[in-house]
């Protein structure tokens, strides 16, 4: 029976534990069959070439490696996709995705949900027509997972976030490139993340750390953003209205919203027309009693700043900049929570608090003034995020 199924899917076992799939006729069924028939420990080895796919692919077997011949060689194209919310969906644990590309998926690029210890290594997700509102939402989209490692990924053109990690715990995003997305890299409603050594360029906003209400996991905290290059984020916001990233002003470097214990340090941040670093509360009305909308215990230090603030792209921005002498500040905090919020902004650049008295106060009521450091002890460093040895080995 098993032999019949394998014959039917025409994915020959070239060696024990490897299911090889080549491009050509019936690619959809052959590739999907391999992803279904793979056993824990197997490698689904996708050959070089272009796979024209009509439906989303999915993997639900633990411990499988899906491997291509490189992100320029193995191309899964979803240009002709007729259904499904993403290109590839992973719902199993201990999966490694590496060395292939997903192009032009109608929804998200690669989503992994409840997929613990997942590794994304050297994968590319791209909408090839450049930034457009009709592009899919997220490039890489791990959600509700523990231990997420994204290493050496490239994402271009997402109409929401290029690399988005949501409602997860213990996360590393490193050595990756996000360009021409609305948000380059976004960590949302998540606990314990290191975002480092990435390039976030030509997005609307470079790196975002957000928390939203009414969700199963909220109260985002313990996030480090360091050693990244966050430059020239200048793509006009093309997110569909209504989404939280539609509120990100074009030309934002790093934006921290409604999280606690977020440390932004040792980055190179510059040439961002609105501001290099923005620390704010969630602005919309909400009903969730368990939600804390303010940003607190935030540290911004030791970043190398380039130019910022010459084109603040939000309503009232130009007037604020004029009031501040022509340029919007390089580092900006909305002031919500006051000194008790313990927001420590230590970079030697123009740093301003808008002194908004409470969450939800419109920015037109800002009373901008030079930032005053709170009289609190210096924050302790956050711990380094560590993945399992097997996950690190899978990146080699």
């Amino acid at each position: 029976m098993q032999a019949a199924v394998i014959a039917a899917m025409a994915a020959a076992h070239v060696q024990a534990g490897t299911l090889r799939v080549e491009p050509g006729d019936g690619a959809q069924e052959r590739l999907q069959a391999a992803l279904i028939e793979a056993k824990p420990g197997d490698i689904v080895d996708i050959g070089a070439g272009r796979f024209d796919l009509t439906d989303g692919l999915s993997l639900d077997v633990n411990g499988v490696t899906v491997k291509g011949a490189g992100p320029a060689a193995t191309i899964l194209s979803f240009k002709g996709q007729k259904a499904a919310g993403e290109g590839l969906l992973v719902t199993s644990d201990d999966v490694v995705l590496r060395d292939f590309a997903v192009e032009d998926s109608r929804g998200d690029g690669i989503k992994s949900k409840g997929a613990d210890r997942i590794v994304y290594r050297n994968v590319r997700v791209e909408w090839t027509g450049g930034p457009k509102e009709a592009n899919g939402s997220y490039g890489l989209y791990p959600v509700e997972s523990t231990d997420v490692l994204i290493d050496g990924a490239v994402v271009k053109g997402a109409s929401d976030a290029g690399i988005y990690v949501g409602q997860s715990k213990n996360i590393i995003v490193r050595n990756s490139t996000a360009m021409y997305n609305v948000a380059g890299i976004e960590i949302e409603n998540s606990y314990s993340a290191d975002v480092h050594s990435n390039l976030a360029m030509h997005n609307t906003g470079g790196i975002l750390v957000f928390d939203l209400p009414n969700l199963p996991q909220q109260g985002g905290h313990a996030i480090r953003v360091f050693s990244n290059r966050v430059e020239q984020n200048d793509t006009p916001n093309f997110a569909p209205k209504g989404n939280i990233v539609a509120s990100v002003p074009t030309g934002t470097g790093v934006m921290v919203m409604a999280n606690r214990d977020v440390h932004v340090f040792s980055n190179i941040i510059g040439e961002n027309g609105t501001t290099n670093v923005m620390v704010v509360a969630y602005q919309s009305a909400f009903t969730d009693k368990n939600y804390d909308p303010s940003a607190r215990n935030i540290v911004v230090r030791d970043n190398q700043h380039g130019r910022a603030g010459w084109a603040p792209a939000f309503p009232g921005g130009a007037a604020l900049a004029a009031a501040l002498g022509g340029l919007f500040p390089s580092v900006m905090w909305d002031g919500v929570g006051g000194a008790a919020a313990n927001v420590q902004l230590k970079d030697p650049v123009m740093t301003v608090s808008l002194n908004l008295p409470a969450q939800g106060t419109p920015i037109t009521q800002a009373q901008p003034a030079a930032y005053v450091a709170p009289a609190t002890a210096p924050a302790k460093d956050l711990p380094t995020i560590v993945m399992t040895a097997a996950m690190e080995a899978a990146t080699k």
Binding site: I36, T91, N135, P216, I244
Partner: protein
């Protein structure tokens, strides 16, 4: 009407069929995934059950591109399903749930020229439920296992007299699980006490010795398109429960959206009222709220139901055309919402 017809057809088929197949209970219980549906002996043909296989219906079913569905259950000899509360029936190991999907040539004559496309099995084995999709050949004489799914071109004359053509998608095994999942385990979705209770179906099952427990729901679901069965609000909630809540619930595949549409969800933010998109991306189609009371045109719940574009359309699977009648119902519900 459709239901009565389905039942009638099933029993006619049974009477007229030549040698009746015998259900292979051992095969249902085994680990095998037979290539041929016929090996199970559950059906005479795509819409006709073998002896010991019982047709059933739901008050409000899942919409699948206007496909007509034939539902059957088979319980192992001497075993009963158990009703506890309004939720899923607790089926014994050895149960087979069977659902065939088909299109009549003309929806205005649904009893004639039925082409059955596929039959999906949910088998309750000792290790848990297993989902197996079988696709019928063009003659309707044989159905074979298609774990990787398949697309099929289908045309029919719709109830408005217009010819409709779609690319019908048989789901692959992972997509089966994409809906039929609770936590990490495969589970049935349809046969919930609240959706089976039409005033006599559960009692009939009990009388036949196939059901224990309370053969009555505390809060039965109405028939979504029969105004005499419940208010607009109740019928809208029934439709959302049957069509959305298998993913959109606190433990389902769409739990992370924070949009929960099951029958028991209170009418709050998590039902979508005043709820902003979480990770909808372009699925929000530029609208700020899932449900904006009084304003269906400003509610992206409606827009996503109306869309047929992948990445926007909801549900993500099993729907390539708009269910216009349901969009009208949900719109009316939101319009009347204070």
């Amino acid at each position: 009407m459709r239901r009565a017809l389905a039942l009638g057809l099933a029993w006619c088929g049974l009477v007229s069929a030549s040698p009746s197949p015998q259900v292979d209970d051992a095969l249902i219980l085994s680990d095998a995934m037979p290539t041929r549906l016929q090996d199970f002996g559950l059906l005479v043909d795509g819409k006709t059950p073998a002896p010991g296989v019982i047709p059933y219906h739901l008050n409000t079913p899942l919409f699948s591109d206007y496909a007509v569905k034939f539902r059957f259950m088979h319980l192992p000899k001497g075993k009963k399903a158990k009703a506890t509360g309004d939720g899923l029936l607790d089926f014994p190991v050895g149960t087979a749930l069977i659902k065939s999907f088909g299109y009549p040539a003309d929806m205005r004559a649904p009893g004639q020229d039925m082409r059955i496309l596929e039959t999906r099995l949910l088998l309750h084995r000792a290790s848990g439920w297993v989902a197996l999709p079988y696709v019928w050949n063009a003659d309707g004489t044989e159905a074979t296992l298609k774990r990787a799914g398949q697309r099929m071109d289908v045309s029919w004359t719709h109830s408005d007299g217009q010819v409709r053509s779609i690319s019908y998608a048989v789901p692959n095994a992972n997509q089966c699980k994409g809906c039929h999942v609770s936590g990490a385990a495969i589970t049935p979705i349809g046969p919930k006490v609240r959706n089976l209770d039409d005033g006599h179906q559960l009692q009939a099952l009990a009388k036949a010795g196939l059901l224990t427990g309370k053969a009555q729901a505390v809060r039965p679901m109405p028939v979504w398109d029969r105004p005499d069965s419940g208010s607009v609000a109740l019928r809208a909630r029934a439709y959302l429960d049957a069509n959305c809540s298998h993913c959109h619930n606190r433990a389902g595949p769409a739990d992370t959206s924070g949009l929960w549409l099951d029958w028991d969800q209170p009418a709050d933010t998590n039902l979508g009222i005043g709820k902003r998109p979480t990770a909808a991306g372009r699925g929000s189609v530029g609208l700020e709220f899932a449900i904006k009371p009084g304003d269906p045109a400003a509610s992206y719940l409606v827009a996503r139901m109306a869309s047929t574009e992948p990445g926007i359309a909801m549900p993500e699977l099993g729907r390539s055309v708009t269910h216009a009648e349901a969009v009208a119902l949900i719109s009316q519900w939101i319009r009347e919402m204070k």
